[in-house]
Symmetry: C2
């Protein structure tokens, strides 16, 4: 048994959650990585999450099945078209149809349950309020309200033993800053996956919001994105 404190880290297999995992490791936590099979089109991200969990030698990687398709309402889980080739301005406007209703709320709730079982006081989530495509559940005020609720929700909270913290180390960083930080910490970004609409073999499209933000981030960080993109 390790004497390190335990952290539950939400891991999608993308650039942000992978960098968050590297930061939690650097801060001295034993890592408990949590991923979800939620009916997303881009299931290849779970393959990425698995290899990243192995790369970081996590204490445990749990993949939870939840079928958000039943609820409907998102291009990431339904048969709606993923938007392509949008400008940064277009992404920053309306909340896009790739938004999955209450997704971070659901994911954090499972993280909270696991933290309670593990006796962990630390949950890490790679949300980002700058380059974030306009998702409501990536904003600092949302995270603060979640943390307050979480401290009232649990057994340890009632007993006054636990002070749960939701760590959002990337919340005020640009994608380029995130990538630079990750590279400093030894992240191998060739393991990651970001595309909302990959080929069956897992190759990224290069044109959805997520690919465009990723490519812009690498460009601004002055480094080459190590993953391949499919030809048109």
């Amino acid at each position: 048994m390790s004497n390190k404190p335990k952290a539950v880290v939400l891991l999608s297999g993308g650039v942000d959650s992978t960098t968050t995992l590297a930061i939690a490791k650097k801060e001295g936590y034993d890592l408990f990585a949590l991923s979800f099979r939620y009916g997303q089109r881009h299931k290849v991200e779970l393959v990425a999450a698995k290899r990243i969990a192995t790369f970081f030698n996590v204490a445990k990687h749990l993949v939870i099945d939840i079928d958000l398709r039943l609820l409907g309402g998102s291009a990431l889980t339904d048969n709606l078209e993923v938007p392509k080739n949008r400008t940064t301005e277009e992404m920053g406007g309306d909340i896009p149809i790739t938004y999955v209703p209450a997704r971070n709320t659901i994911f954090l709730s499972f993280a909270l349950a696991w933290a309670e079982v593990l006796g962990s006081e630390d949950i890490f989530i790679g949300v980002n309020a700058l380059d974030y495509s306009g998702y409501p559940d990536c904003r600092p005020e949302y995270i603060a309200a979640y943390e307050k609720m979480a401290n009232l929700a649990t057994k340890a909270g009632v007993e006054g033993k636990q002070k749960l913290k939701i760590h959002t180390p990337l919340i005020q960083m640009t994608k380029a800053q995130i990538i630079k930080k990750g590279l400093e910490l030894g992240v191998d970004y060739s393991l990651t996956h970001s595309c909302y609409d990959p080929s069956p073999n897992g190759e990224a499209c290069g044109h959805c919001d997520s690919c465009l933000l990723r490519l812009k981030g690498f460009r601004e960080a002055g480094v080459q994105d190590p993953i391949g993109y499919r030809k048109k």
Copy 2:
């Protein structure tokens, strides 16, 4: 299409959630009932939830699969012994091992997602702070914090269009008051199921905390509990 407002109602199939469903119906909502298959020992409660949803002619009844067993930590999902024959004082003391970590937080998060997709502003949950066996996520301060978080979590919340309310009509009622209220509203309690440790055929044990609270409630309400209990 109905012109009534839509309500998402968490429905376990027990006395409290069934009474809550009856109250939401009485208040004029179109009912969207939400249940979970979460690895609970007492799966018979889902059979009860289904017949109650039919009885109340809900617009839709959704059963979501989530495997809380993976997380561990509760007698309701793990192979731990369910406590029997405890006094009310014993139940009111420590948080019991039948507590499922963060369960209401997880359930409300799915309700929130569904409400967002449906365009509903109303979630009903039958939590109870009096007879409640000491669960942290049944307290009014927890519900208030959840509601605040939920209003920051969603697309509609950001756009200022939606004001989500978590309704807890039973929160300050005794079990006897809940049963009397339900009977006034025409609830058929023979459809409901409460036991944490039923027989394979669904018969209630009569000795777990949930059975004891139910039996006490019917006794205090001065009516006969219409369900059967197994002989020792």
